[in-house]
Symmetry: D2
Subunit: 384 residues, 4 copies
Amino acid sequence: MKKRKICVVVTARPSYSRVKTVLKAIKQHEHLELQLVVAASALLQRYGTAVDFIKADGFKINAKVFSVLEGENTTAAAKTTGLGILELSSVFENLQPDIVVTVADRFETMSTAIAASYMNIPLAHLQGGEVTGNIDEKVRHAITKLADYHFVSSDDAYQRVIKLGEEESSVYNTGCPSIDLAVPVLKSKALSFNPYQKYGGVGHEPDLSEGYLVVMQHPVTTHIQESRQQIEETLKAIDKLKLPTFWFWPNIDAGADGTSSGIRAYREYNELKHVHFFKNMSGEDFLELIFHCKTLVGNSSVGIREASFLGVPVVNIGDRQNRRQRGENVLDVECETIAISKAIQTQIKADIPQSQIYGQGNSGKRIAELLAQVELKFHKTICY
Amino acid sequence: MKKRKICVVVTARPSYSRVKTVLKAIKQHEHLELQLVVAASALLQRYGTAVDFIKADGFKINAKVFSVLEGENTTAAAKTTGLGILELSSVFENLQPDIVVTVADRFETMSTAIAASYMNIPLAHLQGGEVTGNIDEKVRHAITKLADYHFVSSDDAYQRVIKLGEEESSVYNTGCPSIDLAVPVLKSKALSFNPYQKYGGVGHEPDLSEGYLVVMQHPVTTHIQESRQQIEETLKAIDKLKLPTFWFWPNIDAGADGTSSGIRAYREYNELKHVHFFKNMSGEDFLELIFHCKTLVGNSSVGIREASFLGVPVVNIGDRQNRRQRGENVLDVECETIAISKAIQTQIKADIPQSQIYGQGNSGKRIAELLAQVELKFHKTICY
Amino acid sequence: MKKRKICVVVTARPSYSRVKTVLKAIKQHEHLELQLVVAASALLQRYGTAVDFIKADGFKINAKVFSVLEGENTTAAAKTTGLGILELSSVFENLQPDIVVTVADRFETMSTAIAASYMNIPLAHLQGGEVTGNIDEKVRHAITKLADYHFVSSDDAYQRVIKLGEEESSVYNTGCPSIDLAVPVLKSKALSFNPYQKYGGVGHEPDLSEGYLVVMQHPVTTHIQESRQQIEETLKAIDKLKLPTFWFWPNIDAGADGTSSGIRAYREYNELKHVHFFKNMSGEDFLELIFHCKTLVGNSSVGIREASFLGVPVVNIGDRQNRRQRGENVLDVECETIAISKAIQTQIKADIPQSQIYGQGNSGKRIAELLAQVELKFHKTICY
Amino acid sequence: MKKRKICVVVTARPSYSRVKTVLKAIKQHEHLELQLVVAASALLQRYGTAVDFIKADGFKINAKVFSVLEGENTTAAAKTTGLGILELSSVFENLQPDIVVTVADRFETMSTAIAASYMNIPLAHLQGGEVTGNIDEKVRHAITKLADYHFVSSDDAYQRVIKLGEEESSVYNTGCPSIDLAVPVLKSKALSFNPYQKYGGVGHEPDLSEGYLVVMQHPVTTHIQESRQQIEETLKAIDKLKLPTFWFWPNIDAGADGTSSGIRAYREYNELKHVHFFKNMSGEDFLELIFHCKTLVGNSSVGIREASFLGVPVVNIGDRQNRRQRGENVLDVECETIAISKAIQTQIKADIPQSQIYGQGNSGKRIAELLAQVELKFHKTICY
C-alpha cells in the first residue's frame, strides 16, 4: 500500500509546539509519509530559530521557505503572505502531497491554506473554531472556510466550526497536540534544569527558591500604535511586585516592534533587578517552567491551554485570548498596571485543579490516525 | 467634510458588470471619492480587456495591477493570488483608502481581501453568502470571514452570512448591482444593434429573425481534466438543435484551457453553421441580447440573477451555480447532451414571469450610501 | 570522488536546442551530475511546450518554475524576471548546485544569472560576447559581467568577452552546441519526414518537390509598436513570391503579440495558398528542414549559426542579428518587402560553402569536460 | 516646454548621501520634475531609516517600496532583488518617467536597472566604472551594461566604462555628488555639534578633546562566514589602542548579521570603555565628524572618496575598496589586528593634502543639467 504523503507547514515557533506530537505520530505511522516544510519566522533568528529545534528533534526538513518581509507596518504582513503563496505553491508542486496540514491562525498560515486549496490539495486545519481578539480571528475562520478537515481542540471550538457550516463528518475534536507535550511534565517534582545556564538570555538572575512568575505577552496587531503602551502596563506591574520573573520575548507580528521597543526602552530607565529575559526555550522545558511557576502572566494561548491541563494559575491580560474556552485556572484582567498587579497577587495563592477541556494528551496520535483514514477530497459546500 | 476614499478592485470582466453601478454611484456621491484599481484578467486581451470598457465608461483608473501568471494548471491560480497580494498591498499603501471593496468570489478577489484585511483597512464584500459548486465556494465564504461589511444580493444570501457568524449590523441585503443595469433593458422592444457588426467575433452568421439561443459556459475548476469533455456535451446539444446561437468564450480559470481547446477542437471537425462566437460584449448589450433570446444556456450566474429579473428562460448546466437562490426562470440539468437538448426545447416554449429576488434595480446607489455611512472598523469577533 | 552538481536552467524553446548536447554530455560524464530546471516559456503551450521535447529526449526534470506573467507590455517582461529570481533562488537552495549554467540572452535568463551570482554559486554562461540589436544585447553583456565562466561560440565573441574585462583563463571558445545537432544532418540526402503529417500546423499544404523556403521572424522588442508592421513586410514578400513556404510562429517576447496578431490579421484577408504555419518542431527535424530548403528567411540566429555550418543560404532581415559574426551564407536586408523579395531570389540560386566559424560539432562534450575541470569560484575582478 | 520626469530610486542610507545634491539640483531645475522612490533598506529602522532624513531634507516621496526579505543567507539578497523588480515595475508604470536614475552598486540597485531597462525606459547610472572586491563588483559592471547614460566619479572610472564598450558620448566624468556635500565642511574649524547629545547611540562617551577615531566597517558578502571573524580583528585593534572612537553600525548585506553579531558578542565580554556606537548620522554631520577625526578606519568608500577631498587620513582594511582610485590619504592594510593597529598609529600623525580626483563639488548640478539635455534613448550596441 502506497503511503499517504502528509505535508505539514510550520511557520512560527509557537506553531511548532502545537504540532510536534502530530509530526512525530505521522513519522511513525506505517501508512503515512511526513513532508515537513519550515517557513516564515520559523527560520529566523530574531524569532527564536524554530528550525534548529525542529532539526534537533530529529525531523528531516523537505523544504525551507524564506518569506518574511522586513518592515515596521502591516504592509509587510500582507506581503509576507503573498510571497508565502508564491513559494509554497512551488513546494507543493514538487512534493505532490496528498494532504496539506496548516496550524492555527497566524497571518502566514493563510499562505499555506490558499496555496493548498487553490491547487486542489485536501487541506487539514488544526485549532480552528476558537475565538480571540485580533487579526488572527479573521484568519482562523477564513482558513476554516478553505479547509477540508478540521482537527479542533475543544468542544467549544467543535460547536463553532459546525456552526460555520462545515459538515459534521469533517470536524474532529482531537484535543490540542500541545497538551500531549505536557503529559510527562505532570510527573515533575521540581525544575530539572537551570534556566540561566541552559538558555542564557539577558538581565538579572534572581534567586528562584521562593518561586517565580513567567510573563509572555504578545502585541495585539490591530492596535499597533498602542502595543508599546500596553507592554508598559505589564512592565510596571511586574516591576512593582519585585518577584523573580522570567520574561519571554514576543514573536513576530506587525506590531512586534512596538512591544520589543517598549521593553527595551523600559529597561534603559529601570533596573528590573528581579527580571530575566529569554528569547525562546524548548517546548518541554517551557512547560516544566510554567508547571512550577506561581503564576503565568500575559496573553499567550499557553495560559488558556497547556496551563489548564497542568493546573497552573494564569493572569490573562486584555482581549487577545478573548472568548477561547477557559478552565478554572484563568483570571482575566484589563491591560492596566494595578489590575494586573492585584490579579497576580490573587493567583499566586490560588489552588487550581487540572482540566482536560483541551485534550487528554493523545492528540498527535489521533490526528495522524485520522490523516491516514479520512477520504481524500477538496470539494465541499456550505451546510446551510 | 473630508470625502471617504473608497477603493474598488476589479479583477475580471464579469465582476465589472457586477459593480459598475456601484462605481457610478460612488463617483457621484458628494461624500465619497472613488479609487479604482483594475487588476488580473481585467487587463488582458485574452479575457476581453475589461479595462477598455471601464475607460470607455468614463472611469479614471488609479492603478493597474498585472498579476496573471501563465500556465495550464492550478499552480498558476495560486501564484496569481500571491502576486496580487504583493502588488495590491503597495497600491493600498499609496492610495490610503478608508474602505476597500472586493466583488464576488473569483480566486484573485482573495488578493484584495487579504491585502486589505491584513493592512487594517475596513473591507466591504459584495455578493457574499451565495452557494455554488467549485473553488469559488471556498473563496467566497473565506472572504466573508475576512470582510467587515457585507452587501449581499438576496435574502437567501443574507441568512447565510448571518449564520456564518457575522453581526447583523454589518450585513445588508442591497440586491445585486448587476440588476441595476437590467432596468433600462426592460423597455427594449427588439434587439437595437447588429451583434455581428458591432462585436465581430468568429463563425457563421445565422439569421436571427426566428429567435436565437445564447450560450455561456465556464469551466468548473476542481475538475480540470473534465472541462474539455463537459464543453463537448453542450457543443453536441447545440450542434444538433440547429438553432441560431451566440456562444461566449469562457473567462480565465485554472481550467480555462480545457474549455477553450475543447471548443477549438470541436470546431475543427464540425461546421457549427448556426453558431457565432464572441469574446465579449458590453454589459448593456449583453443584457439586451439575452432579454430577446429564446433561452440562455450554460452555467453563468447571469442566468440565475439578471435573467430572473428580466424573465429570460435559462437552462442551467451542472453544479456550478449549485445552490444559489433561483427564480422560476431556471431549469437545471446534468451536463449531458440529451438532457441539455431536451431542457432547451422545454425552455424555449416557457412563459417566465419577472422576479425581484436579486434586487429592485437600485443596488448601486444603496451600496454607495452605505459606504458613506457605515462606521469605519476592521475589528470583529464571531457572533457565537 | 563526489560528482559536481551542474544545474542548467532552460527558459525557452530555442535555448533548449542551444544546450541539448551539453545536457547529454553532462548526463554521461562520470564526474558530473545533471540538475535540470525548466522555467518560464519553456513550460507553456503558447510557446511550443519545450518541456515535452525535453522529457521525450529522456531528461529528468529536477524542478519546474512557472514565472511568465501575462500582459501585452514590457512590464510583464520585467515582472517575469523578478518572479524568476524569487523562484530560482528557492530552487538553488534546495538543489545546492556547484555550478549554474545559463544560456544565451533572453530576458528571463537574467533571473538565473542574478539568483546564482547573488547566492555565491559559480555561474557559467553560454553564448556570451555576441552582438545583436535589441534588449538581448543589454542582457547578454550584463550576464557576462555576472558570470564566472564563459563558453563562447566564435572567435569574434571570444575577443569581445576578453575586451569586456574578463580574465582569459575564464573564457573558452567551445563553439556553439547547437552546431553539434547539425552534424548528423550533413549526411541527409533528402527530407526524411513529411512535415504536414508529423507536425500538423495550419494553412495550406503546398507541394515540396520543387523546393521550399523556411521563414522564422521574431519581433524586435524595443520597437513594440512596429513589430506588426515589420512582419507584414515579410508576409507581403512571401505572398508575392508564391514559393512553397514553411512559416514558424515567433517565440515569446514583449512584442510577440504584435507579430502574432500581424500574421493572424494578414491571413484573414489573404489566402497565402503556398504557406504552411508551424508552432514548433524538434531541433533535429528543423535542421534537416532548413538543410534541404532553398533559403531560410527571417531574423533567427539559426540563420547565422547552424545555417552557416550546413551551408544553407539565408536572407537575414533587419538588425536583430546585428553584428553577430557571419559566414558567407548570409545576405542581410532591410525589413522592406521589395528588398526581401529580391534577396530571396538571389539566395535561392546561390552556391554556399560550409563553414566552421561557430564550431566543429563537439561543443557539448567540450563544455561538459570544462565544467568538470574548472576551478570553482564566484569571485572576480575586472581585468583593467 | 514639458518637464522631463526624472525618477531616482534610493535603496540604502549610503546611496542617499551619494545622490542628495543630484536630487536637489533636479528639484530646482526648471526643465526637470523629480520623482523620488525610496526602497529596500532605506525604509528600515535596522539600517538607519534613511527615509526620515530624506523627508527632513524636504523631498517629497512619490512611492515607497518594501522589498527587504529577512534572512541570514544570500538567498534573501536574491529574493529582495526579485521582489524589487516586481514592485518597481509597477511604480515605473504609474510614474511613467522619462529617465530612471540608479545609484552605485548595492545588490538591490539591480532591481532598478532591470525594471527600467526591460521597460524601455532610458537608464542613468551613477558611479559606474569603479573597482571593488565583492558582489558589488559584478553588480556594478552588469548595471553599466544595462545603462544608457553613465555619470562616473573619477577619470579612472571613466576610462573603465569606455573599455567596457560604452559609447564615449554616453559617459560623463561628473565627479561624485557625495563630494558636493563636503564643500561646506572645508570651512569648519571644530566639531559644531555634540554627537552624544544629537545622535544618542550606545556605549561609553569618551572625552574628545584629544581627538578621536571613526570606524565604519562593512561585511564582505562573498565571505559570509568570515565576516564575524573579520570584525573582531578591527575590534581588537581599536580595543588595544584605547583612543576615543566612534563606531558606525554596518548597513544591510547578506553577511550583515555576522558583522553585527560579532560586535555584539565582543561587547559582551569586553568593556570597550573608549568606544561609542552609532546607527547613523546625517551626511553633513558625518562629514564634519570625519573632517575633524584623527583617522577614519574601516572599508567604507567614504574613506576613498570624501576623505580624499577633505584630506582625512584613512586606514582602509581588506579588499572591499580594492582597486578604486585612491588619493594620498589612504593607507591600505590586511584585515589583521596588528597591521590595523600599526596603520592607525602611522595615519594619526600623517599630513594629508586635499585632492579633487573624485570631483570639485559641483557634481549634482552637472548631472541634473545632463539629465535635462541628453537625448532620450534606450537602445545601444557594444562599441567593439
